[in-house]
């Protein structure tokens, strides 16, 4: 009797093991894969200044290849870019990286409004949704050039001064004016030299 029960128990254990084995093996494999993925993510999420610097350099090269020479030099020298409105030169925008788009009147320097807009990458590569600075400016430039009205409709509009200090903007506009004068003088001199 005892022998029969013992044999039955052994057979039962073997049968259960055979049934569970594939599931156990697959569960162990999944656990290992999950651990490896988590380790990879940890490595990616770790802030790496070198990686961010390389990303910004790559982004700057792409920006340079897309926008006009004047716009590129403006961003390179001043850290922001002016983009004329689609309906003429009565208004323009200032594009700063990761800051609202500022609309203003170039003739008077009057600030019109701030348009808060972002381009968040929800897949969070390297644990961040923020594009490199130059890519953020490029995305704004593309969206303004491609569909100004759509972008403005998408953005949250605020009066000037909510996010960006108006005094800082006035100083930036003064810098832009000086920069344009110096650039024009340089270009004129280059033309004279070439002639």
């Amino acid at each position: 009797m005892g022998l029969a029960l013992g044999t039955a128990a052994v057979v039962l254990v073997v049968l259960v093991w055979e049934l569970l084995r594939p599931r156990l093996i697959s569960a162990i494999a999944q656990l290992r894969a999950r651990r490896e993925l988590a380790a990879r993510r940890r490595d990616e999420v770790r802030f790496d200044p070198g990686r961010e610097l390389r990303a910004e350099q790559r982004a700057r090269r792409l920006l340079h290849s897309c926008v006009s020479q004047e716009e590129w030099e403006m961003y390179r020298d001043l850290g922001f870019m002016r983009v004329w409105g689609a309906r003429g030169e009565d208004y323009a925008y200032l594009l700063y990286p990761h800051r609202p788009i500022l609309a203003y009147v170039p003739q008077t320097g009057e600030l019109l409004s701030e348009y808060c807009v972002a381009f968040p990458d929800e897949t969070l590569p390297y644990g961040s949704h923020r594009l490199p600075d130059a890519d953020d400016v490029l995305a704004k430039w593309i969206a303004l050039r491609g569909d100004e009205r759509g972008l403005i409709a998408q953005a949250n509009m605020h009066l000037p001064g909510r996010q960006v200090d108006p005094d800082q903007v006035r100083r930036d506009l003064a810098r832009l004016s000086r920069w344009e004068r110096a650039r024009s003088a340089r270009l004129r001199a280059a033309i004279v030299r070439a002639a």
């Binding site: 990686r51 972002a118 381009f119 929800e122 590569p125 949704h129 998408q154 953005a155």
Partner: protein
Amino acid sequence: MRLLRLKPGHGEIVLAEGDVEVAEEEQLLIEAFRRELDAGMWAAVPSESGDGRRTAELVKQFADVPRDAERVIFFPRAAGGCAPPANLLADLRSAVAL
């Protein structure tokens, strides 16, 4: 034609590259294009007009991409919103301190 995507922490990456005149390569480009749009990206074709003015066109399907375009740039779609203004954060901090 090259399909590029702007990526945080990296800059642009090449998603696909091929000749639109070669059927198989065009098919790969179309598939990659659709994948990005399905993932919620915007697609744009940078170009230069006859007078040298640089511009960009947003496109919603591969058929809208000019056949001679060198690249299509994908980037996350725009979302309205900003971080709370600095003075509001300061106010909140002082309120918490009280």
